[in-house]
Amino acid sequence: MSRGIEGAHIIAAVKGAGVGFVVTLPDIVTCDGLLWPMTHDPNLTVVPVCKEDEGVSICAGLSYADKRAILLMQHTGFLDSINAIRAIAVEYGLPVVMVVGLQGMEPDRHPSDSASYGLRTLLPIIAAMELPCLVLEREDQVAQIGQIIEDAYQKSEPFVVLVPQPPLGPEATRSESGRAPVERAVSR
């Protein structure tokens, strides 16, 4: 299971693969451990969107300029974006790398075994769309992320990384409630 994965390690892997843009709609699973630190990272440009399918196209546009990006979103946003993913990422064969938080995922379960219909059906949907996918459950899998991104851009094809549990954020951003401290939200 993914509890205990350091967000900083994921971010380092993403940056190490040459990613300069993070296109996102905030997700409670990844916000503290990934999005807020990425927002404060001077080497990453965060592009907030109003709806996740915008992000599919923004990543596509960036790819033509040989700029690498990830699309960071919640699984509901993935589901909402299926037509854009189908056309732009899959049928056009473009390197759209999606990092997807699984909101509501039970600890100690695999997404396929979730009691939630929306989570339980996610992997079958991804498989039906013929999308390559990694369920990021353990720290040792983080080492795969760099190569995944490299391959996606070299082969010009999409990839989905599912994040079932919240990655750990830096000490300053951790809170017992799991919510972002108010001052960070205001400063943004």
Binding site: C50, G55, Y64, A65, A84
Partner: protein, 191 residues
């Protein structure tokens, strides 16, 4: 009211070889009026033109990017107005080719028809500059200002059908179109 092909021909005269993201009916006209490898034809899913253009504008900050959006398309992705305004690319010109119709889907009216105030939408979203163009001579007079403005710029072109051009669906989805654009952009960016 302008004829669409007349408005697009005017744009082509003033903007002969820059990046353009044309969508659906505007794409069919634009391909005939200004065939060019820097036409980004493959937007894939309805409504996504403005978002592709934002990605290009962010990826190519030294190049102007013009998107020729449709009203039905933009209505499907109105949030992109806010995303673009908030991201604020200085090099993006968002032109809305407004005819009040889903022209390629049977000429059925869009919700709101011709009564929508897209200029107000863009102003409210926070575009740096907004132009509402109803007549061709007005567009001709303002176009140099539009093309030199610091973006993001939003332009409503109130149009009606002009000359009818072939609906080349193969071109707007083909791997050849994508490959041609990618090569041309790389060459442009390489200087």
């Amino acid at each position: 009211m302008m004829k669409r092909d007349a408005a697009l021909s005017l744009l082509a005269q003033h903007y002969p070889d820059g990046i353009v993201v044309p969508v659906y009916q505007a794409a069919f006209d634009w391909m005939a009026i200004r065939p060019h490898p820097l036409n980004y034809l493959c937007t894939g899913a309805m409504g996504q033109g403005s978002s592709h253009a934002l990605g290009l504008a962010l990826g190519c900050p030294e190049e102007t990017v013009v998107v020729l959006d449709g009203d039905g398309s933009l209505l499907m992705n109105l949030g992109s107005l806010v995303t673009i305004a908030a991201t604020a690319p200085k090099n993006l010109i968002h032109m809305l080719v407004y005819n009040g119709l889903y022209e390629v889907n049977g000429r059925y009216p869009v919700p709101g028809g011709r009564d929508l105030d897209f200029a107000a939408f863009a102003k409210g979203a926070g575009y740096a500059q907004v132009f509402d163009m109803r007549e061709l001579d007005q567009f001709a007079e303002v176009l140099p200002t539009i093309l030199s403005a610091s973006g993001p710029v939003f332009v409503v072109l109130h149009v009606e059908q002009g000359e009818v051009y072939p609906k080349d669906y193969v071109a707007i989805h083909s791997a050849e179109s994508r490959g041609r654009f990618r090569q041309a952009l790389r060459a442009r960016l390489a200087g």
